[in-house]
Every structure is written in C-alpha cells, then in structure tokens.
Amino acid sequence: MDNTTLTNKERMAIPRQEMPAQDPGERIQNFREVNLGYTPELAIKEAMRCIQCKDPVCIKGCPVNIKIDEFIDLIAHGNFLDAAKKIKEDNVLPAICGRVCPQEDQCEKECILGRKHKPVAIGHLERFVADYERETGNITVPEVKRSTGKKIAVIGSGPAGLSCANDLAQFGHKVVVFEALHELGGVLMYGVPEFRLPKDIVRTEIEGLRKMGVEFQTDVVVSRSVTIDELLDEEQFDAAFIGVGAGLPWFMGIPGENLVGVLSANEFLTRVNLMKAYDFPASDTPVFDCKGKNIAVFGGGNTAMDAVRTAKRLGAEHAYIVYRRSEAEMPARVEEIHHAREEGIEFLLLNNPVEFVGNDQQWLTGVKLVKMELGEPDDSGRRRPVPVEGSEYILPIDMAVISIGNGSNPLIGQTTPDIDFSKRETIVVDVNTMATSKENVYAGGDIVTGGATVILAMGAGRTAAKAIHEKLMGESHGFDEW
C-alpha cells in the first residue's frame, strides 16, 4: 500500500490495530508489562488510518498540544525517529504519557474518526516512537544553551519536577532536584506498577537529564532537611519549583479502619513497587501475604486498579474492586478496567463499605457493604448513589486497600508560611506562570491541582520553567527563544 495515495475512505476502512498484550492467564503470574507494544508494521498501519484533518481537533484534546497529525504522518512514512523528535517539541516524557495518559478523555476523545469508527490509537503510536527511539539508542540529548550562571532548586522528582528540570537545563540554568525518597520519579516509581510502566523507562528519562547536567539529591525532605528559605538564602538558589505531588492518603473514617490488614493504596503499592516486596525475602521489605486470600480495594481510579491487579499478581484468590458508583463513573483509564476484567478482577459496583470487622486478635476478617442505587442527578449532573435500605451484607476479606484519593502533605506549608494554600490544601498559583505568592517560588503538578494526571503535571512543570527563565533573564531572553 502506498501511504500517500490512499483515499480517506480507504484509510477509514482499516480497523484500529489492536495492542499486542501478554495473555491474561500468564500475566497474572508475573509483573512484566502487559502491553507488548506495536511492531513497526502495526504502527505504520495504524498511522495510515489518520486522515490528516485540515483542522486536527485531536490536538485540542491534548493538554500539551502535541502536533499529533504531524507526528502520525511521519510514522506513516516510516520516519520514526523524526516522529519522536516532533513529539518531544511538546512532551518530554512520551514513552510515559503514551502508556498512562487517559487518551479516551483527551486526544482520542476528540479524534474525528471516533464519531463513526474507533479513534486513531494516538497513545499507542506515541509510545511506539518513543520506545523505538530508546531501543535503537538514537536518543538525542537536547542541546543545552550556554550557562546562564543561574541556579534553580526543583523540589520533588515526579513528572512535574522532571519536566521543569528538563526545560530549565535546556535554557542553560544549573538545576538541582531534591527528592525525599531514595528513588527518583515520584508516583511513576512508587505508585504505577511495573506491569503498566516499566521502571527502566523512567530511569532512562532521568539518565537523559543527568547527561544534560541536572544534579539529583535523594534523601532530602525539603522543609525538614532544608527549608525553601534556606535554599534561596543560604544555598543561593535563584528560584525554586515545588512539585511535591499529592502525597497524603485519605482514609474513609468508618469503624474498624485500624484493624490489622487495612492499609492505604500508597502503602501497599510503595511496599511492592519502591521496596520490591514482591521479591521478599530477597528484598527485605515485607508485604501482606496475599496468596490464596481475599483482597478488596476500595475506589475506582487508576490507583485502585493498580492495587487490585497487584494483589492478584501476589496470588490473591479473590481480588475485588468495591466502588460506590457504577462503571461509567469510574475515573480509571478504560484500558485498565478492561485489563483488570480480563485478569479476573471481580467488580462490586454500587457497593459502599460501612464497617470493617475483625476477630479477637484485631485482624480484619470482612467488610460490611451496603448496596447503592443511582438516585437523582446532583449539581454536577452525576447521578448520586444512595444506599438501598436493608441491603447490608458481609464480604469476607483478609486485606483491605483504601484508594479514595490523596490530600496534600502539610510539611511545605508548615515551614514556608508565606506560600498561600487553598482551602483544599493545594498551593495557589497564577496559572499562566505557576508563580506562588512567594517571590521566585513556583509550583505545579498534583500539589496545585490535587490528584490529576501525568501529562497535566508535566505541562505545569514546563509552564513554570518558561516563566522562571523569563523572570530570571528579563524580557530580552523571553519566549521567542523558546
């Protein structure tokens, strides 16, 4: 087939190319990535489905406005490395976003093909070129401008911090990233499991930053080990960017939540991902022994899906998702819900926990659930779930994982009183520059938005980098050079 001469009709006749994946029966026995990635042939075929709209509406769906039509056209012509470069003009972490973006709510939601057919698999294609570039060893280290002599502290090494560091380094600034944990990468390392995002990909991105001269200091909790004021005054940083994420897990506040065997998704996933507890005892950190047990995860987001699928891989007999609304309201990516179902995860939808119950040793033995039905739509237009009277029942479980979201860690606020926080405990910023109420201090990512997405955190990091650069260098070195 000649890519250039196909009619739109012929293009639309090509079915969306399925992502090759590990067989469900096999993959619940291991932690390797579920999706195996497109081959070059599959990628070209999928790229040929794109009709190269005059007004590519897909771009509007992407929070960082990747030039989607252009990179897909390059793939269709077999120019994979150029396609990767094209994406990187707008997105510094394509191998990651291609895997974890909620595409169905963003770029692919807008794709014109989606009206009659399935949308172009933009995420799969983005992932393909990024992997191709990495695997062929053809990663271009971006050019770094002549040193400006300015020094900037980036606090937190999640997607917001990493992308901010990337752009600042390119502008020629000295960047030092401070990370509280012993590993870099934020949620990408301790939250999202290996079977969805191989950690080597995150490490490669970080290596790239090191090559650009970015310095990393792990084991530094800013506010405890050193305060922002000390960084700016004593350690002579010219500016600081706060990308500390939303790190404080919420609990439900129902009776029995402190029984032995009830834990937060953050704890469960951190033990398994960051501390490698799946490899216990070769790795020293233990995790609840799930083998043959009944495990319930409470929540309906990506974190809940990650936790429940992790429990399954650790040998759970029954692994449940308990969610008080219906599947349509679940915030998780559709692909995760689909994969979870394939893996035998049991969905208890329209079920709400009212109490955890335990034995006389205070170990969890079950959870009392009440069935819900969807009532009248509320102000947000969503139909509010209401309990069905008399429908309580006990589900026997050995471990409960709470995954109902995160608030903000209070440390930065406690030690930096001149940074304004909202009532929701997020940092208040000017959305055009990500500047906080404190001079030369910027913030972005989940600490500003509350739990959101990787791509939004990344976009915020880049906006801040641009604004910091402008502020430090004055107007003459402003946007046009960027």
């Binding site: 509280a180 944990l181 012993h182 792990t218 084991d219 530094v220 909790v221 405890r224 080990s225 050193v226 790190g247 404080l248 897990p249 609990f251 506040g253 402190n258 029984l259 032995v260 065997g261 834990l263 937060s264 953050n266 704890e267 951190t270 033990r271 501390m275 490698k276 216990f280 005892p281 070769a282 790795s283 020293d284 950190t285 233990p286 609840f288 022994d289 040793q361 205070q362 860690n409 209070p410 440390l411």
Partner: protein, 281 residues
C-alpha cells in the same frame, strides 16, 4: 552513601554509630528520627537521632538488634557505608521549663529518651532520669544520663543493678515520696509506655510517649504509621512520634505492629542462615 565514622557496642546487641550526615546534623532537634536503608535490597527503618555534632557533620544513632535490618546494621563498622539516610523526620519534642521532668527509658528506649533529657535540662528543668533494663549488662548510656540528670536511677528486672523492679515501680515510689512531678517522658516497649501512662493518669501528670509504629516512607505518604490518639487519626511520622500518653490507643498500636510477624521471623532466620554460611566459609 553515608559513611560510618565510629561504631561501638554499648551492650550486647546494642550498638552506637556516628555517621557522616552534615545536612541532618545541622537541622536535627530532640525527638526527631531518621529513616535508614542499609543497602540496596534493604528495608527503610526509623531510628532516633541520639545526638549530633554540627562541627563534624555527624549524627549518632543507637540501634538494638531486633530483627534482620537492625542486626545487619549492627554488623557494620567504622568506614562502612549505609545506602540511604533521610531526616531529620518527625515533629521535634515540645520542650519548655515544666519544673520537674522525669525521663524514663526502657531498654534501647534510653537512647531515644536521652536527647530529650538533654533538651529538658537545657530548658531549666529539674531532670530525673529512670533508666530500665533487663539486667546489669543491658544498661546503656548510664554516664550520659547521669551527666544531664539532677537525680539518676537505674532499674533492673532481675535486680542485678540499681533498683530491683520495673521503671513504673520507681516512678510510683517517687510520686509517693511526695515529689511534685510536672512532666513525664516515657520511651520503651509498648507495655512499658502504657504502664507509665496508667501510673501518671490518676495524678494528672502531663505524660508524653514516643510511639514506634511500623513505618515505610517516614514522610506522611503511606499512612502505615497511623495511630489513634484521643480518637483521632494521626500519622506518627509527621504528627509525632511523641504524643500525649493519656490519649494513645496502645492496644491498637500493639496489634497493628504484629502484621508482619511471620515475615519478620522468616527474614531473621534467613539472615541467621546467611551468617552461618559466612562463618563456615
């Protein structure tokens, strides 16, 4: 990597380390701790900062070999390195001139109580220390405690040294002698801390304990360290580790600390086995 500057046993199984960690040394205050990971495959465990030297840029920690990680740590010597140390973590002890302050340390708890005793003394308190151990050989920091105390007592369970009995008995004796006690700090095994709280409750003496739940990150991110204090949920690593002893739900803490008991045993046995192999080869 953090280098060990000195390492000495204080008692059987209890070792004191001075470690090069200038950032932490500069910032730490009484009552704070570090999370430490001995090696790549290691667990993150919390240990109190017993002392620091800003000039030398070192911190002092004192560890009791309880299981795999602490035993592995206690095999390290001067010049060896530790993969990761992060801190200072936790809310510093609330220090003021209370009047008469009693600092009680049970076992390795003495190491945790010591820095706070120093701070209490500095703030002008009349400081009484009660240092409890199983037997004479297990008494640690005797000289250090004496040097910051107006009155220093040692108690041993078997009577081989000092007062024969538990720290709570000594405390009760002090109260009965008519001494006006304004503040009690108690650090040690959970049953000991609970017992101290029970002794002081009827007298309404302000009593503080340093809790030891299982921690993972130590930064407030996982909620694994949550404890119930006055029916409120608290994260010991950020809100604590020190809390009002009369409000703590000790039995919940002690239940929750048992979650990994069989894994801890397996880990310790494996460590034992590995050591034996090392010795034989």
């Amino acid at each position: 990597m953090y280098t060990i500057v000195s390492a000495d046993f204080l008692a059987e199984n209890i070792k004191k380390f001075e470690i090069d960690a200038p950032r932490i040394a500069k910032k730490r205050q009484a009552g704070q701790f570090v999370m430490l990971r001995v090696s790549e495959h290691g667990e993150r465990i919390p240990l109190t900062i017993a002392d620091s030297d800003v000039q030398k840029g070192t911190i002092t920690i004192i560890a009791q070999g309880a299981g795999k990680t602490t035993r592995e740590l206690n095999r390290l010597n001067k010049g060896d390195t530790i993969s990761d140390i992060v801190g200072p973590l936790g809310t510093p002890s609330h220090i003021e001139n209370f009047g008469t302050a009693v600092s009680i340390g049970g076992g390795v708890g003495a190491a945790i109580a010591y820095p706070t005793a120093v701070a209490l003394k500095k703030a002008g308190n009349y400081v009484i220390t009660i240092n409890g151990a199983r037997s004479k050989e297990m008494v640690i920091l005797e000289e250090e405690m004496k040097s910051v105390s107006d009155e220093a007592y040692i108690t041993t369970d078997d009577g081989s040294y000092g007062f024969h009995g538990f720290v709570t008995q000594k405390l009760q004796e002090l109260i009965d002698s008519g001494k006006k006690i304004d503040y009690v700090l108690a650090i040690g095994p959970i049953p000991m801390m609970k017992a101290v709280a029970d002794v002081t409750r009827p007298y309404n003496i302000k009593t503080v304990v340093s809790l030891n739940p299982i921690m993972v990150d130590g930064t407030g991110m996982c909620g694994g360290c949550r404890v119930t204090v006055g029916n409120e949920l608290k994260f010991a690593c950020v809100d604590g580790p020190e809390f009002d002893a009369h409000l703590v739900d000790f039995s919940n803490l002690s239940d929750r600390n048992k979650i990994y008991i069989s894994e801890e045993k397996a880990s310790a046995e494996q460590d034992e086995h590995r050591c034996q192999l090392d010795r034989n080869s």
